[in-house]
């Protein structure tokens, strides 16, 4: 009862005071102490930051100088962070889980969530006190992804990850003559038009600006359009026609020099957000607040490229990534894990607070609708209401092409695409090598 009351109070506060509320959100905390630290595994410090900046202040905990988080009941929260490069996070997580390490909660990305959802390492949410009904306000696809073969829900996400195409308004006006997002959408409404626009941009700017950073950015979008996941139910590798299309598209981009050759997550890719070398990026929800705002070179309109961006649907709807919180089977503090999961993925009040302050796109249809209805604008995007765009894309998200093997198979494909695009191999050799590499890494998969 008390929690609902404080939630209503918080929402009322937000609605009356306005969306730029700097009020601290607070909620009750009645999790009993266990005397043991809560151990969370992740690959970066995003969730750690979320706990530190939102959850801890909200429940009345403290953060020490060295970053340790202490809850009101005296328990601590510990993070174990293993970066994602080369699939290392998965390796270390597997090692910890199978060795019975102390692990209460871990994060999983879309690329490998299915693996853990279908394993015994994740607890059904019902076992920590969260029913499926409690997840009713979440975007349905996020719930379906976390559903295992027996129908139990094994994870919960705080965000939905529909994707859009972000572009620089000033550069678009300069080189393409477009003045509004609608005009821009016309220029990128399908892949053929997109390619033409890429040529236009390169020519008009004399190679100083390119439409997208690299061919790798296209893969994130195109992979959702496949007919089949990488591995079907018979554990066979399926190379969809879209893959061939992608190989060719990537080669065209490289041969005609239409990209800035800035591979995703490289230094040039990060830097391109703050300089004029790259006009557009494909990003889903988390990309905008987690990657773009940090790299644009400013924090207010006018500084760096802040405020000069706009969002359009792009050539096709897609989703990219998404993170799910899972309770580990060795969890020793179920009430606390439940509380944290509820704070970020279920409760409208806390999620709305987080959403507005971080500009993430939270997994709560009600909260999002409220925010849009209250007249949402984002100054980073020149005052655009991109949430409406996201809201429209989300129902179109099709996660049927997800497989537990995605992260590793994508990496292996990337190697072959790079060879092919560099001109080191022809297509048939690249595909043959790709099949060989996949089977070597996953002997249980067959590839004809």
């Amino acid at each position: 009862m008390k929690r609902i009351a404080s939630m209503v109070l918080a929402i009322a506060m937000l609605l009356t005071i306005g969306l730029a509320a700097a009020e601290a959100y607070t909620t009750d905390f009645d999790v009993p102490a266990t005397g043991k630290p809560l151990v969370i595994y992740s690959w970066n410090d995003e969730f750690q930051g979320m706990l530190k900046n939102y959850y801890i202040p909200a429940v009345g905990g403290t953060v020490e100088d060295d970053g340790t988080m202490i809850l009101p009941n005296g328990d601590k929260i510990e993070f174990v962070i293993n970066p994602n490069d080369g699939g290392v996070y998965q390796q270390k997580l597997d090692a910890a889980l199978s060795a019975g390490e102390k692990l209460d909660m871990f994060l999983m990305e879309a690329d490998y969530a299915l693996k853990y959802v279908n394993s015994d390492y994740t607890l059904p949410l019902s076992e920590i006190g969260i029913t499926e009904d409690a997840l009713k306000d979440q975007y349905p696809y996020t719930v379906d992804v976390a559903r295992d073969e027996n129908g139990a829900i094994k994870g919960s996400s705080w965000q939905a990850a529909p994707g859009l195409f972000l572009y620089r308004r000033s550069l678009a006006e300069k080189y393409l003559g477009v003045k509004t997002p609608e005009e821009m959408q016309e220029k990128v409404k399908d892949w053929d038009t997109f390619l033409e626009t890429a040529r236009e941009v390169a020519k008009a700017s004399e190679n100083a600006t390119k439409l997208i950073p690299s061919n790798g950015d296209v893969w994130q979008v195109i992979r959702t359009k496949r007919e089949s996941p990488w591995v079907n139910d018979d554990l066979e590798l399926v190379i969809d026609d879209q893959v061939k299309w992608y190989f060719d598209f990537a080669k065209t981009l490289r041969d005609e020099n239409l990209t800035a050759n800035a591979n995703p997550w490289s230094e040039a890719w990060n830097a391109g957000i703050g300089n004029d070398s790259i006009m557009g990026y494909f990003f889903s929800t988390w990309g905008i607040q987690w990657v773009m705002t940090g790299n644009c070179g400013g924090a207010a309109p006018g500084e760096g490229t802040y405020g000069d961006w706009a969002a359009v649907d792009g050539p096709q709807p897609y989703y990219w990534g998404g993170t799910w919180l899972a309770a580990a089977s060795s969890c020793e503090n179920k009430p606390l894990v439940k509380d944290i999961i509820e704070y970020f993925t279920i409760e409208e009040g806390s999620m709305k607070d987080y959403c507005l302050k971080s500009k993430d796109y939270v997994n709560n249809t009600v909260a999002i609708q409220n925010i849009i209805d209250a007249g949402f604008t984002f100054d980073f995007l020149g005052g655009q209401d991109h949430y409406s765009l996201f809201q429209a894309v989300t129902p179109l998200i099709d996660t049927s092409t997800m497989s537990p093997y995605d992260q590793n198979i994508n990496m292996l494909m990337d190697t072959e695409v790079n060879s092919y695009v560099n001109g080191d191999k022809d297509f048939d050799t690249a595909i043959a090598d790709f099949k060989n590499a996949v089977v070597d890494m996953f002997p249980e998969i067959t590839a004809e």
Binding site: N44, D45, D66, G67, F79, V80, I81, N82, P83, N84, D85, Q91, K92, A95, A96, S98, A99, G100, E101, W265, S266, E267, N270, A271, N295
Partner: protein, 280 residues
């Protein structure tokens, strides 16, 4: 051409080549240290030997990235390397003592066996070692990285060589006559005599263990237990791509202690290398 002129030219050549090689050996460190004090943008622009003025800022950024704790990594490496060194030194000397001082039937066979084991690098058995440690629940601890040091064939070999020349058997017998137990004789009399050998070997064992990457990567899974080289491997990951100054600073911090220790002990180290290679 006159003989002395020929020699002179040759010497000039030798000195020039030596100079170039010395510069080559030192240059990467200079680049590392200089870049540690430069700004990311400048570093991208090119290699320079002129230090920048961003050292403090880079240190600040590195500290704020809480998950890269250089001090912690060094302490972890110190624990592993330190314990390995102590165990290797003590037990290798003990084993060598057993082989030198006592005559027993299997002595020759034992020594041959130890020589043979010297030839098998540990990496080939890593898979069996890993699954074994996994079953014992010892992964992600330092025990698999340190206990095996008790059986260090190369150190035994070296200690035995040294002992054959440095330890007079008469001393052992004299100690027996005085009523000292065998174990006591070893600890009180033999061991101190081995000090120079112990010192030389200690350096090599410690540095060798400090620099290991393969075995720790196999066995350690939580970042707060990472050894120094494992942390260094993290520097290639995405979150450092926006600020290279911190990467070079972190590299410099990992390399600096080794350089300092080396410069202090270089004479011993080089003498040890020379001895090790020749076994005179």
């Amino acid at each position: 051409m006159k003989y002395s002129v020929r020699i002179g030219l040759k010497k000039a050549l030798v000195y020039t080549v030596s100079f170039v090689l010395c510069v080559t050996s030192v240059m990467p460190f200079l680049v590392m240290f200089v870049n540690a004090s430069r700004e990311n943008y400048d570093i991208q622009q090119g290699i320079s030997l002129i230090p920048g003025n961003m050292l403090k800022e880079n240190m600040q950024t590195l500290r704020d990235r809480q998950n890269f704790n250089v001090a912690r990594g060094m302490w972890n490496s110190f624990q592993v390397a330190g314990l390995s060194t102590v165990l290797a030194l003590y037990f290798s000397t003990l084993t060598a003592y057993g082989l030198v001082v006592y005559s027993f039937r299997l002595r020759k066979a034992a020594f041959t066996l130890i020589m043979a084991t010297m030839m098998i690098p540990t990496q080939v058995s890593i898979v069996g070692f890993f699954t074994f440690m996994f079953r014992m629940g010892l992964t992600n601890t330092y025990w698999p990285l340190t206990i095996p040091a008790i059986a260090s064939p190369t150190v035994v070999f070296f200690m035995r060589q040294y002992m054959l020349t440095a330890l007079p058997l008469e001393m052992v017998e004299a100690a027996r006559i005085d009523g000292s137990s065998e174990f006591n004789t070893f600890n009180r009399i033999a061991l101190p005599l081995m000090k120079p050998a112990l010192a030389t070997q200690a350096i090599f064992i410690f540095i060798g263990s400090w620099n290991r990457l393969f075995e720790p990567t196999m066995l350690i899974s939580s970042q707060d237990k990472y050894t120094m080289p494992m942390l260094v491997a993290l520097l290639r990951s995405d979150r450092f791509r926006t600020d290279y100054g911190t990467v070079y600073l972190a590299l410099s911090l990992t390399v600096l202690p080794l350089i300092v220790v080396y410069l202090l002990l270089s004479k011993h180290i080089i003498r040890g290398v020379a001895l090790g290679g020749v076994k005179e």
